[in-house]
Symmetry: D2
Subunit: 393 residues, 4 copies
């Protein structure tokens, strides 16, 4: 009898992203093709566009770019940075630190502001850096650092930079939809998010919000540097989209369907502010639960913690591989470990998009507690759940 | 823009059945039609048939009847019972008690053996009834009583009846796939199950295993009573299926797809014995967890409890509607209450098919514990999970 | 690597039913379970119910019965016929002729009105039969005879019977949704349809419209005959649904989802009258195309032909198996042959639900013409399409 | 009642790409997430990788890049071209001509070899260009030019270039899977295809085969030009994939599922040679049918025509918009018009992936003929189908 490949799919995935995604998104991914040069599809794209502007809270049109989030982030550097430009880079985690290479890749003269990876950058250290480098053209940072589950004060940083005329590049891949972002109000310049984190859709797209200042700069930088203006990395081909509703490439039709379903879910929920509140609640509940259970969080203070993922310090007597293996194989819950130096020192549980729910938090706390108990490390799940519950009540 | 109806679907359903079902089954439900009079479809039906024979452990072909499980159960009475036949009916719960009406509907002279609905029928009381009614033609009982989460000793009852030449009608709607059934070895006569319980598919089919003795009796009864032999309720049209691979009606093609996927999952798991073991573990863990948490089970003894569902006695200070409402609305877990006199006195959590997993049990215990704590009823979730864990270790 | 069973699915199926069904219905079939005793599901059922009443044009609630269409038809006999009742049965095809057995199965004293299977029953012959049998209680007929692709004059027959107080049982399995049905206006008593024909959903349900007179008779017959009133075949348990919105059995949740999607498609199209017009156009185009191609239709006159399926007389030089085999294997189009004596004498092409479209008709004519040419039988496809086109223009 | 956005989807799409895609691919697109850093996913990627190597007939690992096909093509230029490099660009259509800008964007000194857009480049003109430019480093061309439905002699061009040490960049976006490609045998250097054409999956990925020579050159060019070596446009990050099975970015998980299903379909068919044969047959049949119907093909000679799409010259009395509008609205078939100067002069019908079937060709010929007749332009569909049939016989 005929058969076909089918992957083994985990019962529940609460990793650092992607996590298990919304069933309605999966359903939309299965719709048959409509042609991208038809009125139907243009209508769909315009509707997605309106939804995205609401998501980022911007009057500008957001670019729905086909490719991994790092593509959108590289686009930001490729369009805003000229060789020799001083770029301040806030290195508060692996992703932030890594972005220095991207900036340098485009000739940026990078000044790193580094903090330990278990905290976030203070606005005062940002001001100091800006004071010391008044010539800086660009400041880049990560809003929500998934590798360490920390979050930087996006509003303060963006407002400060705008005040000083410094352009901001914000990696909000795991931020938008889970933490508040007010693109226009805060004077952001380029903010990039992905579809696979707080939006709860599938990985494959980079959503890029661009301010008028950033557009102007992109045109100037492209001209001055002679960069290839029709490049896939250039903002410029997207003017056709912004000005004439014409998507410059064959769009990833299924991914657009999935994105639309994800944006509909936000709309059904009452808008992005409600979705953010749900993520906040899930995050607060997870943290309260973990602590009350008797475990330690990785990040040094609540106000530095991300809404989309929680990092838990591994107790000395618990080995990372055994813990996560047990959670996965015995309890069907896939979570993430640490990256780089943090490997083996923490585990990370994602509560983003579909998994930012009371039930998933309770399930994750239950599984985490169960596996800890299995491994002989005593935790108090009762206290954990009681503390988490208090958030949802 | 166009839109279409879409139901609000609970995050997780662990009711008395149906529960949330396997994603692979849902996928199969979405396959386009093949015609039922093609070689492809006949090949599919024969494969389903082989799988079903393995499921019931019978050499006979099982009837894949289109309609709710009660249809299969009524067929049993319609084919085996003649007016005036003495039928012993074991009333150990709502479903068992209710079956007396079906038997009487076909003229059966019913002798009820009743036990309280929080226990199961003992083999000795079955023997007594059989001793007292040596003229009995049929004995009917429910294998797994979902309304009260109890289970009757199917093997002993069927063996005893076979020894005495009494035909057995077994409602194993929530038994097959979750508890051991050996149709041929135990000498069962008619065993009915559904697709929506331990098989983890969608409701809509009645699967009916029929012994040679039952076939003979069906032919005789149909002849003697003049019952309509082409009736949808008659076994006789299914001889075409048994003897000539010809399904007598247009089959429910999508439901057959879903059933095949569900049977494939059992096969992937290593066969039905493994699937039963998974259900047993889930049930033992749930019971251990509930008790260790400080709550009481409804059924009087472990050996009387079902593998597919657990009934928990509501503490006096916890109101049914508030508890289940909270579990549902706050924690996205839908469970069932009690039926009839048990309404308000217990809740029932289904662990069947897709939900018979360690993760779902941990999630359910976590949600139950959370909601209890929310309602001010103290429970010890830590102990609950530790006890449940011990089963999965 | 893991794999799973997957059926070989024909590219296009235009059989006598089921045919290829609407993608939106398939999508709905894949939705996860909601529990049938929740407000959400009741709301869904009530919405389905409203849609069904519009479909049949009746103020009464239609019964959404779980099981093949023959179940609904048998229910009609079981509820309306008492032993000895004179039942006039119009035998204008295999299904009509076969229903005599069902009526007799419930004690009916059947008077057959037989016509050749390539025409339909005239209202005058119906009147004659009614004149000759003024004692008749019931008259049964098939609205749309899929085996021979003929259609009986339902309106006239039902009106005549109502005038004379004779109850009508109408098999409109392949009629409702494709041909006009006005249940209340025409004074019908029991009309049965299926989900797998003109509704374009999956097989598995019987939709049964019941008049007040039929309800009354059902209650009387059940009482007088002592038939089992809780039987799956009885209308009576459905009073809970009609009176109290309570579905008496666990409903086939996925099939209800599919049915709702199918009903939504009708609604999107502008209501059932538009859907019927689409079926009429497809039927007229198919017939015009077949004739203009140089082939003969089976049924003797246009006004006797069905809207949902067309029967084409096989030319002497074309062998049925070779033709349909070629259409299927070479051109990916599955159609049906004849039944019984008509086997080998005709082929039948279904244009129902999803396949009642101009494109599918053109594709079918193209494939039919192609295969005829391949087999050396000359046809004029150009004329065929031109004639079909004229209908769609 | 709740509802959700749903696009209006055409019954059948046979455009220049994407076309309607395989149902099995759509199904795979709906699978829930597995994490990309798990053994399961790596196993899946390795299997996709093996399949892709078979598809391109190369021993090297093909790069599964996330983004539109133009991304893969730009990567080729970005990795192989240094400023001042002489690049011969074969401009045999809109896509070929357009690629000159990409080469120039990376500093290429482009020599265009232009031919009218209704024919293909001859190997002799390629040899002449190579003779005239012995310093050429790179030769770029389009294998299958979808805008004009022409095909260049890939084997001869690649063999000639390899003989002379010139690197080839081949846009085979609508070629691979539909026309023969033997990457290693023919000595190709970079060949790019997409998932949305002959593979019959959804748009969104660029599949890039890279020879050892191209890898070497990429490393040298990156080093010499100082291009950003971690760029999304660079081949270099993909060494981790080639050497260590490590995908350098979060992969587009759903698109990988869809791709795997598409590759499974090729495997089920007996391998890519069989799939190519199916495309060839569909193309030959379409062309034979169009001509025999009395219409003209756009491309000047059969040996210059593509396997994946057919361009049909519009007769003077038929207006493009009315024809395609009619085909779409009346007959539910979406096809493409011409681009640029060819707009209004031709229509293009795609027979690629799912639509490269006898049935779809017959349906398209039927619809095309029908619409022509509707518009008063006489065509002979009978002859058309007879001629097409002869190919499938």
């Amino acid at each position: 009898m005929p058969s076909s490949f089918h992957p083994r799919i985990p019962e529940l995935m609460m990793a650092s992203g992607p996590c298990s995604i919304y069933p309605r998104v999966l359903e939309a991914m299965g719709w048959q093709m409509v042609h991208h040069r038809t009125d139907e599809f243009v209508e769909l794209m315009l509707s997605v566009s309106d939804d995205l502007s609401k998501l980022f809270k911007t009057a500008n049109r957001v670019l729905p770019v086909e490719g991994e989030s790092i593509l959108g982030l590289e686009m930001a550097a490729a369009n805003l940075v000229e060789p020799g430009d001083v770029c301040i880079n806030l290195a508060s985690g692996y992703y932030g630190a890594g972005y220095a290479k991207v900036l340098r890749g485009y000739g940026g003269d990078v000044v790193d502001v580094t903090v330990p990876y278990d905290t976030s950058v203070s606005i005062s250290s940002v001001r100091q850096a800006l004071d010391r480098h008044p010539e800086a053209k660009v400041l880049a940072f990560v809003h929500s650092e998934t590798p360490s589950a920390s979050e930087n004060p996006m509003e303060e940083i963006c407002r400060e930079c705008r005040r000083r005329g410094v352009l901001t590049i914000v990696d909000s891949v795991s931020g938008v939809g889970g933490s508040t972002v007010r693109f226009d109000d805060w004077g952001c310049d380029v903010v990039v998010t992905g579809t696979q984190k707080c939006l709860g859709s599938t990985p494959g797209m980079s959503l890029v919000a661009v301010s008028d200042r950033a557009w102007e700069r992109a045109e100037r930088v492209t001209h001055d540097t002679g960069r290839y203006e029709r490049s896939y990395l250039s903002f410029l081909p997207w003017r056709q989209w912004v000005d004439h509703d014409y998507v410059p490439y064959t769009p990833p039709i299924s991914a657009i369907y999935g994105l639309k379903a994800a944006l509909d879910i936000i709309d059904d929920e009452g808008g992005v502010d409600e979705t953010v509140r749900r993520h906040e609640r899930a995050a607060r509940a997870m943290r309260a639960g973990v602590r009350a259970m008797g475990l330690d969080l990785w990040v040094d203070a609540d106000e530095h913690m991300a809404n989309s993922v929680t990092a838990i310090r591994l107790p000395d007597d618990v080995e990372d591989g055994r813990l996560r293996g047990l959670m996965d194989e015995r309890y069907g819950l896939h979570v993430s470990g640490g990256l780089g130096e943090e490997a083996g020192r923490l585990i990370r549980i994602g509560h983003m998009g579909y998994t930012a729910s009371a039930q998933k938090v309770v399930a994750a706390l239950g599984v985490l507690g169960s596996a800890m108990i299995d491994l002989g490390h005593p935790v108090d799940v009762t206290e954990g759940l009681a503390a988490a519950n208090a958030v949802f009540a």
